[in-house]
Amino acid sequence: MKKRSVTQRVILYGVLSVLAVIFLFPLVWMIMSSMKDEYQIFRDMTSLKAFLPPMPNEIDGSYFQNYLLAFERVNLLRYIMNSLIYTIGIIIFGLVVNSMAGYALARFKFPLRNFWLAVIIATLIIPPESIFLPLYVLVFNLGWVNTYTGLIVPFIANAFAIFLFRQFFLDFPKELEEAAKIDGCSQLGIFFKIVVPLTKPVFATVAIVLFINHWNDFLWPLVVANDDSMRTIQIGLQYFMNQPPIQWGQVMAALTIATIPMLIIFIFLQRYFVEGLTHTGSKN
């Protein structure tokens, strides 16, 4: 491979760096501004200081003043708790229901198996946006509006997750299951005691995909959880943004809090995060 000349290198790294600033700016700026007062935010906006926290001598009280005020003005803690219950509920029930369905489609022979597989794949085409109204009417008639049940139950079964589990179990060697069957283990026992522990990566991937999708979800929580005590964090952010007077430092603090769980997943589970997202891409 030829070595790049100095000019080529300057241009290449120049372009890369400018792009890095453009893509990183809002995230870094959001976190840094969440620690500044209104005057500092506007003063630092167009300089390199936008990428830095406020100087210790500029701090009035603590770095977390905006956070404390934001928690006082709206029910942020409640919104976060609701989001956690919503997403974790879907993950727990979703992992059980969808992995079992995927396992059935991968391992057992039964009448109409390919028909059900085709139906499940076909439902992937239905955009959730096109059924939210009748789904709302259904959930309303069930008396589930403004309940966790209403938020969670409609989204436990997930065609995409079923399909992903099925593909994964198809590649899983059969021998262990057959040995356990000879030992007299029940099918349910084989699945939960032998298959699940050995296929943790696919469970981790599906769990992360579900978390990302539902932590960021907007339309369904907006229509089904309209009471302040049931708002999820995304809906809470929209509500907070429309509460005058707008204090940008506090809004930035709330935005940062809403992003922290995603950041944690991204930093510590990056492999699963990227794999989970790109899996959607490569496997289809």
Binding site: L24, V153, G281
Partner: protein, 298 residues
């Protein structure tokens, strides 16, 4: 010898187990996906109004003929098409460009890749609020930068001419890093010996890109093309947070319009008929694109 009943045989038992494993998912999908699908069609033929649920009247195709004359629906459709037709090629191009850049031999490669991917970590709501601040006509970041370059202030989100374009720029910025990752996976799957062979044949950089890279990325590009198109067609969060569909309805999208008619005006019958039309449009996009892919492959 009498045959055992089917359910007592080995196959029968396996079928029962299979259905027991599958049933929870099937029941939930039927109740919360297929049934609402069906009721959407049914409601679209009625004058169902949420506040008087017991007085649904069958109105035939009246709702659908109303759509034809509905200026707000037409505007939402045009806006959505405009957004989709611009976002899809731009985002595809930016994502491919970024992937090619970070696929080179580089120092700090992981840093650059992570930087371009970082917007994906923020939700659409978070990103929309941040960019609303940056687009602010009086004290926002973009006008500060323009002012320092001697360019006059721009209205951005508060102008009917610029609002949708501003949303498009933001959407590309937010989504491109994700597709870059998918492209990267594709680039790494192109065997190195193809490039070496091209080099021996005296191909220059551009020829290598045209004859090795692009064909190698064909399937992945088509897949990304389909997913971006459908995602773009479902545009909702950005205008809802940033512009409330304005100014003058210039950023009102189809899904947003359906939401407003269904929830703010509570006209479930009419909103359902628009949802049915929306679904048909998504299906047509999917089928046409699948068809194009088949043509390409055949």
């Amino acid at each position: 010898m009498a045959r055992k009943p089917y359910l007592k045989t080995q196959e029968g038992k396996e079928a029962i187990t299979g259905y027991l494993f599958l049933l929870p998912a099937l029941i939930l999908l039927s109740i919360f996906l297929l049934y609402p699908m069906g009721t959407a069609f049914y409601y679209s033929l009625t004058d169902f109004y949420i506040l008087r649920p017991d007085e649904k009247n069958f109105v035939g195709l009246e709702n659908f003929s109303m759509i034809l004359g509905d200026a707000a629906f037409r505007q939402a459709f045009v806006n959505t098409m405009y957004f989709t037709v611009l976002v899809v090629p731009i985002q595809l191009g930016v994502a491919l460009g970024l992937a090619l850049l970070v696929n080179k031999k580089l120092k700090f490669k992981v840093f650059f890749r992570t930087a371009y991917f970082s917007p994906v970590v923020m939700s659409l709501v978070v990103v929309s609020i941040l960019w609303t601040f940056m687009y602010n006509p009086n004290e926002g970041l973009f006008n500060e930068i323009l002012a320092s370059l001697g360019i006059p202030e721009q209205p951005f989100l508060s102008s009917p001419d610029q609002a949708m374009n501003s949303i498009i720029v933001m959407s590309v910025w937010q989504g491109a890093g994700f597709q870059m990752m998918i492209f990267l996976a594709g680039l790494q799957n192109i065997p190195g010996h193809l490039y070496e062979a091209a080099e021996i044949d005296g191909a220059n950089l551009f020829q290598k890109f045209l004859h090795v890279t692009l064909p190698g990325l064909k399937n992945i590009s088509l897949f990304i093309f389909i997913t971006i198109t459908i995602a773009a067609f479902k545009l909702l969060v950005q205008p809802m947070i940033m512009t409330q569909g304005g100014p003058l309805g210039s950023t009102k999208s189809l899904v947003y319009h359906i939401y407003e008619v269904g929830f703010n005006y509570r006209d479930v019958g009419y909103a359902s008929s628009m949802a049915v039309v929306f679904t048909v449009m998504v299906l047509i996009i999917t089928i046409v694109q699948r068809f194009l892919i088949k043509e390409e492959e055949g």
